[in-house]
Amino acid sequence: MIDIVVIGAGAGGLAAAITAKEKNKKVLLIERESTLGGILNQCIHNGFGLEVFKEEYTGPEYAHRYIEKLISLKIDYLLDTTVTKLEKLSEKFIITMTSEEEGIKKIEAKSVILTSGCYERTRGHISMPGDRPKGVFNAGSAQRYLNINGYMVGKKVFILGSGDIGLIMARRMTLEGAEVLGVAEIMSYSNGLNRNIVQCLIDFDIPLFLSHTVTNVIADENNNLKEIIIQEVDNNFNPMINTEKHFFVDTLLLSIGLIPDITLLDELSVKVDPKTKSVEVNQAYETSVRGLFVSGNSLQVHDLVDNVTKESERAGLCAVEYLNKENNEAEEIRILAGSNIGYVTPQRLDFSWNSSLIISFRTNKKMEKAICKVIQDDKVVYKKRLMFLVPAEMETISFDYQILNRTSDIKVVLEELS
C-alpha cells in the first residue's frame, strides 16, 4: 500500500510530495494535466520565489526547481490522470482514478494530501447583468489560452476586477498588441499588489476605475460582445445614476476572485468553513477526516506561491507524522476569528500533534497600523504589531501553543492603532 497519495502536481503538490519522500515514505503524486507544475506554467511573469529562493523567478522557472528535485528523488507520479472519487474505509483511503491509458483504476493509501488548487469565480457568482455573448472570459482562462496555447482572445479588452491576475493580463494583452481600455474595481482600493498597479497599468496608461463595476453587457446580432457599461457604486455597492461609462470592446476579462477546489471531498463528511470556502483543518492541516490533509490554494487562496510551497511542505511533514501516530482522542480547542478578522486557518488546535502552530488570517479592513492579539479566557496570550494591513494580503502569526490551557477556545483579534 502507498503511504501518501498527493492529488495535484502544482506548487503545493510538488512540495508536499518532495517533503514526504525525503522522509523515505512511499509517495504517489497524481496530476490530471499532461505536465507537472500546475498553474505556474501559465504564470510566465516574474516575481516568484523571493521568499523561498531569494531570487526573482518566473512561474515556469519556479516549477522547474521542484520538478527537477521530484525527478532526482525518483518520486512516482501519474500524468493525464484524474481522481474521480476519494473514500475512506476504516483506516485506509481508496482512490478511484481515470486516464486514457489505464482506464478506471483503484488504489489504496494510508494517507492523502489534497493540493488541488482553486478555480475562478465566474460572472454567475456576481450576478452580472446583461447579455450572454461570446468574448467574456475568466482572466486565468484567457491567460492559459495566450501563454500555453498561443491564442489571443480579443483585440479590444476591458477587465473587471483589479486582483493580480487581472493586472497581469492587462499588461500581457497590451504587449501582444491588444488595446486594454480600462480596469474596473468595485472596491475603493485595488486588490492587487502596488507593484503590479505600477508595472501593469501605469506603465501602459491603462486607467483604473475604482468604486466601479460592470452594470451592462451588450451583444451584437451575432452574439459577440460589442459593448460594456460600467457605473460608479456607492458605499453599499449600489450603482449610482448618471455615472455610466461606455466601452466598445470585444473582450471582457473577469478577475473577480478564486475559490478553493475541494469538490473531490464532497463524498467524505468533511467539515467546511464558509469563510475560507474550504475545509476546516487543525494545525497539522488535517481535516475532520483522519489522515486527510489539505494545503495550498485548495485550503486558502494565497497571495504568494512561496507560501503555498511552505504550507505544503509542512502538510507533507504532518502526513509523515500521521503514519506513525497513535490515533487517540486528543484534547482540542477551536481557533476563532474575532474583530476585524476575515478568516483564520487552521480552525482547530489538536494537542496530540507535534507540529508547530502557524495561524494565517486576513484583515477585513484596510489598516495602517494594528496590533494582533490572541485571547484565551479574556487574557492576551500573544500579541504582535502589524503594519499596512489590507484584505488582499495574508498575514501569519506563530507562537508556542504549550502556553495555552487545553480547554478554552482561543480568539484572534485585530485592533487598529492610530
Binding site: 516574474n46 515556469p60 522557472e61 522547474h64 501563454n147 496555447n149 504587449l175 494580503e393
Partner: protein, 117 residues
C-alpha cells in the same frame, strides 16, 4: 512640473512626489533611488512567449536576462514574435542575443528537453 510615483521597492507603496529637485512623500531613502531611476532611465524585465514547432508546447515562455529600457518593450515584442524555436533548448538557453541592440539577451524560462514534435 509635479510628478507622482508609487514606489514599488516594498509593499508599503509610498506615493512619492517629485517637484523639480524636491522629492517628498517617501518614507525611506530607497524611495529616492527608485524615483531617480524612474525619472532618468526606467527599465523593466520583459516576459513573454515564443512560438515553437513542438505540439506539446506550441508556445514556450521566455524572459530578458536583464531589465530592458522601458521604451524598447514594444520593439522587443515585435522582434520576439518573429522567432520560431525548432530545437529542444534547455531552460536558461539564449533565444535572441542582444535584443534591440542592447546587452540584454532573451532566455528560455522552461525546458524543452525531451519534447515531441
Amino acid at each position: 512640473m509635479k510628478k507622482e510615483f508609487i514606489c514599488i521597492v516594498c509593499p508599503r507603496g509610498c506615493r512619492v512626489v517629485v517637484d523639480g529637485d524636491d522629492i517628498s512623500g517617501n518614507q525611506c531613502k530607497r524611495g529616492i533611488d527608485y524615483v531617480k531611476a524612474e525619472m532618468t532611465a526606467p527599465k523593466r524585465v520583459l516576459t513573454t512567449t515564443v512560438k515553437t514547432i513542438f505540439s506539446e508546447w506550441p508556445r514556450v515562455s521566455v524572459k530578458t536576462d536583464k531589465p530592458l529600457p522601458k521604451e524598447l518593450l514594444f520593439k522587443a515584442m515585435s522582434d520576439i514574435n518573429k522567432v520560431i524555436i525548432d530545437k529542444p533548448l534547455d531552460i536558461g538557453e539564449v533565444v535572441i542575443y542582444n535584443l534591440c541592440n542592447t546587452d540584454v539577451n532573451l532566455i528560455l524560462t522552461k525546458s524543452l528537453k525531451g519534447v515531441q514534435k
